[in-house]
Amino acid sequence: MENQQKLIHTFGALAEIGSEIAQKQNFQQMMRTSLHLLLGSLAIMRGGIARFSRFGHELNMIVVRGLGDEFPLSMNLCDEDERQFLTNGSFPIEVAQAKVLPFFQIYDQSFDKKKIELLVPLVVRDEIVGVILLGEKANGAGYSAYDKEIVGAMARHIGVGIAQRNLLAELERRAAENRQLYDNLRMTYQDTVKAFAAAIDCKDKYTEGHSVRVGKYSEIIARELGWGENETEGAAVAGYLHDVGKLTVERNIINSPMRINAKESAELNKHPAVGYEILMPIHHPFADVPLAAKYHHERLDGRGYPDGLIDREIPYIAKIVNLADSFDAMTTDRPYKRRRPANEVVEDLQRNAGRQFSPELVTAFFKGMLKELTGETKEKRFRRLLGRDYMEAEGIVPMLKNALNGLDGTSSLTLISLD
């Protein structure tokens, strides 16, 4: 009868400890409960669980019960201790046997004072993860073979719990390292993109800063469309790199102070396809970047180049870059043309919505401008790029409002005006 009750009691504890370890709860709490279950299963008066640090080669007490304030919270192990623990595995060692261990000789008095009777190394996958120290049993009897089996079984559960925690900590550390690496890579990528944009712009003395501005306008449009951070960054990158193909175009064509001839024009018009060829082999974090370079001169009405695509055939990112590119061309001085006043530019974009530009994108762009002009946003994105006087030209705000009313409800995918 007593044996049956003992079995029920100890197996109940064993089952509970298994379930405790399986639950992904607070580690400290898990260890506390596990120690209670272990001590209570055999009515052990005192004990503690220590976690092994392989960096410091020390055992650090995680939870203790009845060991008092004077018991060492940290104990150093030497190679011989570690070797012996590994050879022993997760089986209880009686103090009489453990006395040969160098570590035991240092802490002998503490163990003796607290009547520690059993040491249980916690070994998981050939690694020491901790040690359990157990004091005397409440009935005064020594640990029987049966007791040691029970202690060993419960210790293996606790060892797995500590190993899981170690693994999780290692994963968290590696994830943090990976995040750092990723951030560094991303910064390097962004710097490279900006360096490329600067290189492209260097080639053209009249359009200095054009790629950077197109990148920024593309970013504004993406934000106004409600895109997420990643997608918005992708739009900016597409803008920065849209003219990368110009790196292969003769400098005298790009820098010609007058309108270029047909042959030169044909040469210049190759830059979208060349840009695509340059960007395609690169593993961009944003897949559409090469497409933006290739199709940023396409128009909704099919009169663009290189392929004369119409509306739905044009990648969305290319439509964004096309609008940003055209806006910058209109609002900056060119060798053969002065920048156009803001009201004319607004009129032009409105007139060409549905022909060259997607009305949806023109709407987003106008909304971004209007927000800044009416103070709805404190950002000064347009003012910084265009200058305060240019942006605050008289009559722009009502003009934008009217344009937005006119564009309202117009779908970029349905309104194509073919002349």
Partner: protein, 116 residues
């Protein structure tokens, strides 16, 4: 005499009775342990844990009771487990708790009176 039924405690200066729940596990056990330690710190010399409502004591409960026994010994206080069900008495005997604590069937008043 203070009667604090909300926290499951009856006490005067020298004696206190703490009432255990129907299932003595880690959660309810820690509550009892806290209360017992509080009473011992306050100078209680006869501490009774009443098990009248307790039907099951699991391993965590046993471990916590051992902690209470230890704390009482450190404080030089007498500890008594009262109104313990037969099955639980058998468990305590089997595990050796009865070597450290007196297990009596009397009610709180009779126990505390006898130690006055």
């Amino acid at each position: 005499m203070e009667n604090n039924f909300e926290t499951g405690v009856k006490s005067n200066d020298a004696a206190a009775t703490v009432y255990a729940d129907d299932y003595l596990n880690k959660l309810s056990g820690e509550k009892i342990e806290r209360e017992c330690r509080r009473r011992l710190d306050a100078g209680c010399k006869t501490l009774t844990v009443n098990f009248a409502d307790t039907h099951i004591v699991n391993s965590s409960g046993v471990s916590i009771l051992l902690g209470v026994i230890d704390a009482a010994a450190d404080a030089g206080a007498k500890i008594v487990f009262s109104d313990v069900k037969n099955e639980t008495v058998e468990l305590f005997e089997m595990l050796g708790l009865t070597n450290h604590v007196e297990v009596v069937p009397e009610s709180w008043q009779e126990v505390t009176e006898s130690y006055k």
